[in-house]
Point group: C2
Chain length 238, copies 2
DNA sequence: CTCCAACAGGATGTGCACATTTCTTGACGT
DNA sequence: ACGTCAAGAAATGTGCACATCCTGTTGGAG
């Protein structure tokens, strides 16, 4: 007799999906780690099918790699693949900052200034965790300010994939982006209406990131799943 | 007693996935059409779970839209969404042709010339079907010539989503791109090493396409599923 | 002592049965 | 006649039970 599902379970997949995604973002899961379904189901306290569906989704979105009859693994990005991702980011983000420099609304300017201010505040507080989040969101914010949802979604996927590997390599030692003042300079160029300067700064910024990551090969240490998901579990909010 | 699965079934999902994808590309499925699982399973001759998995994948990739407890539907792209897709394409493809114009190998030049020649041949033969394919592949080819797999995959997704709606609106009346000589001009600019000219031509080309599509609102006629999948089915090859 | 093969344990993949929700049809009341 | 509501039917969502495959281990042979 199948157990009867509750009506609130519609958001459960999202919770499981978010939990795994969060664990990866926190750098708990090293590249090459095998995510086996029964163990995850036990740790997260949900059924195996729920975990299964979440894993499939993560695979389709490029977060994980699936090998038939073998399981799903945390992908080991090569230096070349990472370079390619940053290459695409360069194309898109150069165009983004160029466009924003050529014209943007007052609301956009306000949001941009607010974000830079928050980053500086986090830097002063030496709040690495918050700064890590903000650094990533800065690039998403620029896409959002273009008012193109498709662009935002695409860039978010690219960014998460690149920063994921970043956080895996050096969870809490480095910040997400090379220097927070980079973002401030880029914002200034945008607000000052200097397309070429903004684009040049952005390209330099991204180039700095890719060299920073290339110099830091990922470590191959085995991971204990229950330990990795300590304190994360599957929570409803987000 | 569960029926025992055969070892060749690992590629069956791909076949189902491809069948639905092909039906959409052929313009058989009008926007707003509901794809119900039992009917698809009967038509394609596979189990419902197989269809289910394929639909989920298509939803994750943005081809279909899922409403909880309601089903999955062929998305109705608004003019605004289409404009946004072409906007992102403009950013990427302008950067692509600019880069190719600034330098490319002999093999790249050869492939580019061959493609343009094939397009001209198809035009002379008045082979609309082949020209439709070639027109789309031209843009993918440019991405491939950059040697960036990530870029190619991204652009392919963008292109299929935009041309899908195109083929739905006018399956066999128009060609994929405005004029085949547009592609020839762009190729000439790339081969001649003129970045600005190539980028300008590409932007104009894409702008022409978006206006062409915007002037053609999709029709809302109900679709019969068995009729839509006539001759498509789920085949292994591809 | 090393290597290979058979075996056991476990993980993944898939069909199936049922609960829940939604849509449709029909009847009733205003 | 029209709107409303209820009951039946169909579709979706989910847990479960195997079947298949992979992997690590153990035993024996060279």
């Amino acid at each position: 007799m199948p157990r009867k599902p509750r009506k609130g379970d519609v958001a459960a997949d999202e919770a499981v999906y978010g939990a795994i995604r969060r664990a990866m973002h926190m750098g708990r899961l090293a590249p090459g780690t095998k995510l086996q379904e029964p163990a995850l189901a036990r740790v997260l306290g949900v059924s195996r099918e729920r975990v299964r569906k979440a894993l499939h989704r993560l695979v389709h979105e490029g977060w994980l790699t699936a090998v038939p009859n073998r399981g799903t693994f945390v992908p080991t990005l090569t230096v070349e693949e990472m370079r390619q991702i940053y290459d695409v980011r360069s194309m898109l983000e150069a165009a983004i900052v160029r466009r924003l420099s050529e014209g943007h609304g007052a609301a956009a300017a306000k949001r941009l200034k607010a974000h830079v201010a928050e980053e500086k505040a986090a830097t002063r507080r030496d709040d690495r965790g918050r700064l890590f989040e903000l650094s990533g969101e800065f690039h998403v914010l620029l896409a959002e300010l273009c008012g193109n949802d498709e662009l935002t979604r695409l860039l978010r996927g690219l960014l998460t994939r690149s920063t994921m590997h970043f956080s895996l390599a050096a969870p809490r030692q480095l910040t997400n982006c090379a220097g927070p003042h980079d973002h401030g300079d880029i914002a200034d160029a945008i607000l000052g209406g200097k397309p070429d300067k903004a684009a040049k700064l952005m390209l330099g910024h991204l180039a700095g990131l890719v060299t920073l990551q290339a110099a830091r090969p990922p470590q191959h240490e085995p991971v204990d799943l229950p330990e990795a998901f300590r304190g994360i579990k599957a929570r409803r909010n987000e």
